[in-house]
Symmetry: C2
Subunit: 350 residues, 2 copies
């Protein structure tokens, strides 16, 4: 059994070396903020958010016109793809699509935090051969400039009808910043309505704290420090997963096939480091973990007990923790399908 | 040059052997009816339509959970797929997804009319290895019965929580029957507002009649006889395409690779017979023809002149006819994205 700790895990150590009392837990657990941090160079405007929504649903963003953002980050569901596209033959993503809901509250994006903003995540997806597969930013620009209806929308959003990949990234990101799910039963509970959680769920919340889950999954997004003065957008909060190598789960669910952040930084001590994923709406975002190999939330809890803490979690405790996690399912925004702009009588010919 | 006529083309002959006067054209051209024909064994109810909408957007209907009805019949666009999925590598549909909008007004479904109802079209898609790819109706039933949220919705819609493929087909079809696009400028014009069409569009409408387009593309759906007492659901209106074989277009756009209705009936005189497709919203449904090989509506008009009538159409006439066809774009319904039911904490494991 090998235990690894990296510089990034200091905060984990800080918490896990002393028991967190329920009172502390309530300081650390926070309701979801009303609005995410908006970058100074990409203010929200109705025209930009509307354009971004159209682009989000437009499969013409992908080289073969088959995939839109919505294909993998399904807003009708948990903001993910139920493991379908990211696990399917023909795709080679190897990482389960994380939920896009509340992703604007993350300080870095992707499972291993390889980009610092939603805007950069869009460009990464755009050029990824396994995702939107555009050969270049120019290729997207040429294509979108050929759709007459978009020129007017870009002019409204950016004061410039000439369509750039950069403005496309900004518009999509502005829309994504509206995708939040407030008012979960947990949030109501935290704001003082103690009737919102059942006895089982409260017991689950206490276990979540006592067993150490909260050491990493704290903050309003249950994903570490919330963005603020001391933890800015671009600062990453990473943890080892698995923390303890050698369990049966490594092979069963291929937990150690992907080195995580080290694949980006090439640093040996970043092997198996991952951005701590949010637990908001976790009941709706199966399958679980970076590779989406675990279909069941109860099994995910068992695995976490074993590979993070080396503690067996009783089936009763698993059930209670799962009950608590179900209370993190929020209210989803009502989304009207956009009408995609077209060039009348033509399809894109390339 | 071979000219073919079949028994199905009698109505075409009736029209094309005498000139249609503008007055006749106005009898034959009709505004879109408010409501489609509803089958007696599948009445519309709000619960059923709502369930059908959820199913329409649910990629779990496909074997690998990657495709929903919406993937190929995109309601954010023309109700088709812009040629993307039906032309893509890895798919082998070979027929361009026709628009699903107003498809409830068709008396038969699919390009060659191989099924008589939307319900049967759903089952055909469900089991088609190139579409939803379910191995059996039972496989779908097993899967949907595992999604707890659906059981309640089926109980409301059908008084029976047990989920059957038949009821699934009924619910999806009930939703599809709501997908109509009334109030095009053409419809307003036909109801008496003569300001709705420009001089160019009116000239295009006259050309559409004089040149014989109307001989097949008549009726409220511009697709032949509207369903009614003398032309019932299940009655097909088929025409030869190409009517005249031997033009350069046969090879250029592979017009004669697919034998059309004969592939279903195995009848020699059904070779190249196709259901007359609707021209409603045709400006939004590029690429054109059964194989989606033609990207441009003007080119589609040129091809029709040549392969149906063997008449050269001047570029001015092409432009005018295209202008008229643009007036057939209707008002699309506002569609709110459904929230797909889930089984909390689980994904489908098969």
């Amino acid at each position: 059994m090998i235990q690894r700790r990296s510089a990034f895990s200091l905060l984990l150590l800080l918490f896990s070396t002393s028991t967190i009392t329920p009172a502390m837990a309530f300081d650390i657990m926070q309701p979801l903020p009303t609005d995410p941090v908006i970058p100074a160079d990409n203010p929200q405007t109705p025209a930009k958010v509307s354009l971004g929504k159209h682009l989000y649903f437009d499969p013409r963003l992908s080289a073969d016109k088959s995939l839109s953002c919505q294909s993998c980050h399904n807003l009708a569901s948990g903001g993910d793809d139920d493991g379908a596209l990211t696990q399917a033959n023909g795709y080679n993503v190897n990482r389960s699509a994380p939920s896009i809901y509340n992703s604007a509250n993350q300080t870095v994006q992707f499972w291993e935090g390889r980009v610092e903003s939603l805007e950069d995540a869009f460009i990464d997806h755009l050029l990824d051969p396994n995702v939107l597969n555009q050969p270049s930013e120019k290729a997207l620009e040429k294509r979108l400039n050929a759709i007459s209806g978009y020129k007017e929308m870009y002019a409204k959003a950016f004061g410039n009808a000439e369509i750039s990949a950069e403005n496309t990234a900004k518009a999509v990101s502005a829309f994504v910043r509206t995708l939040k799910t407030p008012n979960s039963r947990f949030d109501h509970y935290m704001r003082g309505d103690k009737t919102q959680l059942s006895a089982t769920e409260k017991r689950g919340m206490e276990l979540f704290n006592e067993r150490g889950c909260l050491a990493c999954h704290f903050g309003s997004n249950f994903a570490g420090p919330a963005p603020g003065p001391s933890f800015k957008m671009g600062d990453g909060f990473y943890e080892l997963f698995p923390n303890l190598i050698g369990s049966k789960y490594d092979k069963q669910y291929r937990l150690i096939d992907d080195v995580g952040r080290a694949a980006v930084t090439q640093q040996r001590d970043h092997v198996y480091l991952w951005r701590v994923p949010s637990l908001r709406n976790v009941a709706l975002t199966a399958p679980y973990f970076h590779n989406g190999k675990v279909n069941d939330l109860a099994e995910a809890v068992r695995i976490m007990g074993r590979v993070q803490f080396n503690i067996p979690v009783s089936e009763q405790d698993v059930a209670d923790i799962v009950a608590f996690l179900n209370s993190l399912t929020g209210e989803f925004p009502e989304i009207t399908l956009p009408r995609l702009p077209d060039t009348a009588g033509r399809t894109l010919s390339e």
